[in-house]
Subunit: 250 residues, 2 copies
């Protein structure tokens, strides 16, 4: 059985802990966090610690902490026969500094603590310079997900960048839609089927084929009418995205 | 039984025709289009015509043509006892010029001819200045959808504006994500579960609660790294959306 220690208590750590605890083929031996109260809810299910020197031996250490802290933390780890991976989309495998096996275990999903996810459908992007370690990581990843991809650091960086557009920025556009509805006493829920369908459409069509709307039609009258109803910030975003769509289709 | 004539052969007309043909409580008597070949596929299921003077009598005429053409077309219709509605999100009820009952029948969804939709879940926003007509429209709308809303022209305009953000602009961000993947030989499908989850998350969380990413964290190092990997157009979009998120959360 593969034994694992998870380092961290953020959203990614939290969901990985949940997934591994449910899984019989993985032995989640310990969770480490600087702030013990963040992981106290797991104390009946596995070992927890906030003391670095109490971290125990395992096959794999999963560092699920903020991007900036990965390199510094990785230097302190000292388990020569183990494999140490981080879970970041934008940090290179080379940020791991230490004398151990190195890898990346990047679940490509948006995590919030108060929203359940089905790990089976989450793509996990793995990377290692060592084939044996890659096999071990593949075993770990496929124990919780049906979608495991071998992605190197350069591709992962681009993937993470794409994810910012299709997730973070998309959610911000939802926010703007919500703001406009709120301001005009319209229930935002009216838009939910449209939002769902927009996401679903590109499973069978390319985004290019799926594009509709006044910018695609170059319908200047509607575009100007829209601009007159927006605040300065919304207007800037509307203009730049409309121009980009017009450029794409002309 | 409510009798209906549909004017138009675009995406909205196409899906409404499909929905009404399947429905036993609605009598779709005729379809009119200037271009007969666009509606020829329905010739075995109902009357079709490209001759304006052949348009027959019905309870409701649904004008599903381009926004700019609605007013001009509506002037030519001459069925005093009937109800004439358009299906546009951004055109006022007052654009209908003629001596007949007037209304709006706006299905809030993104339609592509080659992508099936389940009409039951599509919100239909209806409007009329006359209560009897509103009852008739409610009957028509609820025959094909479980989500019928009474929305006046002013609210509908705002709703349509929100829809541009959460649908048209969101799809364009999918396009950018796709472009970045293509350029780096990454299968875009890896991003589909993230895209789906992003849309699903806001059913239970507000977009504000659901926001994640480098802009939300004000992670300037990652933001700068991302900017260096983008082309001019992508960079502009990235910058403006990042600034807007930072403003929202600070």
């Amino acid at each position: 059985m593969v034994s694992v220690v998870i380092i961290g208590s953020g959203n990614v750590a939290f969901h990985l802990i949940k997934a591994f605890l449910k899984n019989d083929s993985i032995d989640l031996k310990q969770i480490y966090s600087r702030t013990i109260k963040n992981i106290e809810s797991f104390k009946n299910e596995t070992l927890i610690t906030d003391n670095f020197s109490s971290i125990i031996k395992a096959n794999i250490y999963i560092i699920a902490i903020s991007d900036d802290a990965i390199e510094g933390f990785s230097k302190q780890l000292n388990f020569e026969d183990s494999l140490v991976v981080h879970t970041s989309g934008s940090v290179s495998i080379n940020a791991l500094k230490g004398t151990y096996g190195k890898g990346v275990f990047y679940p490509l999903q948006t995590f919030s603590k108060n929203h359940r996810v089905n790990f089976k459908q989450i793509p996990i992007c793995i990377e290692s310079n060592n084939n044996n370690h890659l096999v071990l990581l593949e075993k770990l990843a496929s124990s919780i997900s049906d979608n495991v991809y071998f992605i190197d650091s350069e591709q992962r960086e681009k993937l993470h960048l794409s994810a910012v557009f299709v997730n973070n920025f998309v959610n911000h556009l939802y926010q703007i839609g919500n703001d406009i509805c709120d301001k005009n006493n319209i229930p935002f829920e009216i838009l939910l089927p449209l939002i769902k369908e927009t996401a679903k459409k590109i499973v069978t069509l390319t985004p290019n084929q799926a594009q509709t709307g006044p910018a695609k039609r170059k319908d200047i009258q509607t575009i100007n009418k829209h601009l007159n109803q927006l605040n300065t910030n919304q207007k800037e975003i509307y203009t730049i995205l409309t121009d980009s769509i017009i450029k794409t289709y002309n």
